[in-house]
Amino acid sequence: MDLTINGVPHQLEIEPETPLLWALRDDLAMTGTKYGCGLAQCGACTVLVNGQAVRSCVTPIERVAGASVLTIEAIEQDDLGKRVVSAWVKHQVPQCGYCQSGQVMAAVSLLKQVPHPTDDDINAAMLNLCRCGTYNAIRAAIHDLASSPENKGA
């Protein structure tokens, strides 16, 4: 199976239905993408495939062969990703942090599609669970990014 993760090609000997999440974590030792539920319920495993937020625990790797996968490890190589990270730092978003890789990916995906999201847009797109309850900080960080002058979307 040929995969391109963060611009780097990888070849994996692995069954085609293996969830992308476990290929990342166990085969490629990229553990920034988290396992929370394995059932598309929490979003901790969110990565971007062709710019779209995807839950890697329910993405068979054969579906991303040939696609461009961006994980949290390379998020700062993406312009918008870098700005999202600084907003996360500025608003001191994470608590335990376990959900935050996924939250950052989801926020990047949202802002790529909707550069100036309203509260409703944020509600509609930020679907990942956070047991620590960082939701208001997430909302504040996204609003802040949306109103920042360099934000033109992508």
Partner: protein, 452 residues
């Protein structure tokens, strides 16, 4: 007692006695068996192993086992409108099982629906289908149940059907009307593979038990390929078993023989993944069919004519829905946001699923069939595990009953049913409410028969 009544009784009584005697004889008679004269039946290992295969074809374990019980010890609760009945212990245990059955007794139970003690079995036991089993297969099944299945002592549970509905004798009339007599007869006009397929589907596989609609008397409306109602789709246990005829949208019209083969062998193909009651049939039965038998099944099913009443435009994919799911669009069509939040990660914003691993909703029979039970049911309760070749599925459908209100579930399903070229049929909150009340979440750890 007034006089008139007395007179009437005098006239009627003798007639009643005669009638009653006749009826009593009829309802309690022991039907003849082909094997009545067999004294020492063949129980050779070869026949036992043949019998195990027939039991797979017939999926005996489906009803005669429960998750925490040993195989074939019964206990499965089947709810009928009249009350619950429980499948019985069919291990060769002498007291609680069928250890004392002769081959002829066994035959009567399988093909005529009459237990050793003369009791009529409820037609939850698919003997109307099994009636056409070949003598050879009955012999093999018997050998397997006597020698291949370990005897386990487990008391049978009494049905909760109250008197007088619990009286079994009226079933004999039912049997007379609805149970075909005699073994399967080859259709000379068809080839061997077709005939094998017909035997598997109509008889051992008893596919009609779920997929054929039933009439008011609970009999299947058709028992073979000659009847257009046969396998035309039916509601059972709050699942709609879809048409297996060639209807392009609601049946197998868009599937080829290889698709059918894959579905029954691996539990999945690019059109669908088994779910609902079919999960059990797949887990314990169809995947164990030999390749030749599965090909015969596929060949036979593709020969069934589509239903005239279902002649509609074949479904075609319409790609516009994706736009409705854009972040700032998806608040308007109700259900779109829920689709995005709960469904899209697996089934895709394009509704096409993930190759064979997660089924499409676009063009799926469950999206196009008029009956909406299956979609509601799986949305509320999720799927049981599909275990192919011993391996549980990598992806399963979650249960959304705790997350979606009746209204939200209705909205998202209506959205699905109106997207990607699906046929705009509406699901109401009441439909959801009804099924919610009557169902429970799917067991995520399956019952799998594994005999050492």
């Amino acid at each position: 007692m007034n006089n008139r009544l007395k007179k009437a009784l005098t006239v009627l009584a003798p007639t009643a006695v005669v009638l009653t005697a006749g009826v009593t004889w009829f309802v309690s008679r022991t039907p003849a068996s082909h094997f009545d004269s067999v004294i020492s039946p063949d129980l050779s290992p070869a026949l036992v192993s043949r019998g195990e295969y027939i039991s797979r074809l017939s999926d005996c374990v489906a009803c005669h086992s429960v998750p925490d019980g040993a195989a074939y010890t019964g206990g499965l609760k089947m709810v009928t409108p009249m009350g619950a009945i429980f499948a019985t212990n069919i291990t060769p245990d002498q007291t609680t099982g069928i250890g004392t059955y002769t081959l002829a007794d066994f035959d009567r139970a399988i093909r005529a629906g009459v237990a050793k003690d003369g009791r009529r079995l409820y037609p939850a036991m698919p003997y109307p289908s099994y009636a056409k089993l070949s003598n050879e297969d009955v012999r093999a099944l018997y050998a397997y149940f006597m020698k291949g299945v370990p005897a386990v002592h487990r008391e049978n549970k009494k049905s909760t059907i109250p008197w007088p509905l619990n009286m079994r004798w009226p079933l004999s009339f039912w049997n007379e009307l609805f149970v075909p007599a005699g073994q399967y007869v080859q259709d000379a006009a068809r080839d061997k593979q077709w005939n094998r397929g017909a035997y598997l589907v109509e008889t051992a596989g008893h596919c009609g038990a779920c997929h054929t609609p039933r009439s008011l008397a609970f009999n299947e409306k058709g028992m073979n390929s000659h009847n257009s109602q046969f396998l035309s789709g039916a509601l059972i246990d709050h699942w709609f078993a879809p048409s297996l005829r060639n209807d392009p949208n609601t049946g197998l019209g868009r599937w080829n023989e290889q698709d059918i083969f894959d579905f029954l062998k691996t539990g999945r193909n690019s059109h669908a993944v088994v779910f609902g009651s079919m999960t059990e049939a797949f887990n314990n039965s169809t995947q164990f069919f030999s390749d030749a038998d599965l090909k015969a099944v596929a060949h036979y099913l593709k020969s069934l004519q589509r239903n005239a009443s279902h002649t509609v435009q074949p479904w075609q994919y319409v790609p516009t829905t994706a736009e409705a799911l854009e972040p700032n669009q998806r608040k308007t069509p109700s259900g779109a946001q829920t689709y995005m939040a709960k469904c899209s990660f697996c089934h895709g914003t394009d509704g096409r699923g993930q190759s064979v691993w997660i089924p499409p909703l676009a063009g799926a029979a469950s999206s196009l069939t008029a009956d909406t039970s299956s979609q509601i049911n799986i949305t509320l309760n999720g799927s049981g595990r599909v275990v192919a070749n011993g391996m549980p599925d990598a992806y399963r459908m979650p249960s959304y009953r705790s997350q979606l209100s009746d209204q939200q579930a209705a909205d998202v399903l209506t959205f699905i049913r109106s997207s990607w070229g699906n046929r705009k049929t509406v699901i109401s909150p009441n439909d959801v409410k009804n099924i919610r009340k009557r169902t429970t979440p799917a067991q995520i750890f399956p019952v799998i028969l594994k005999t050492e």
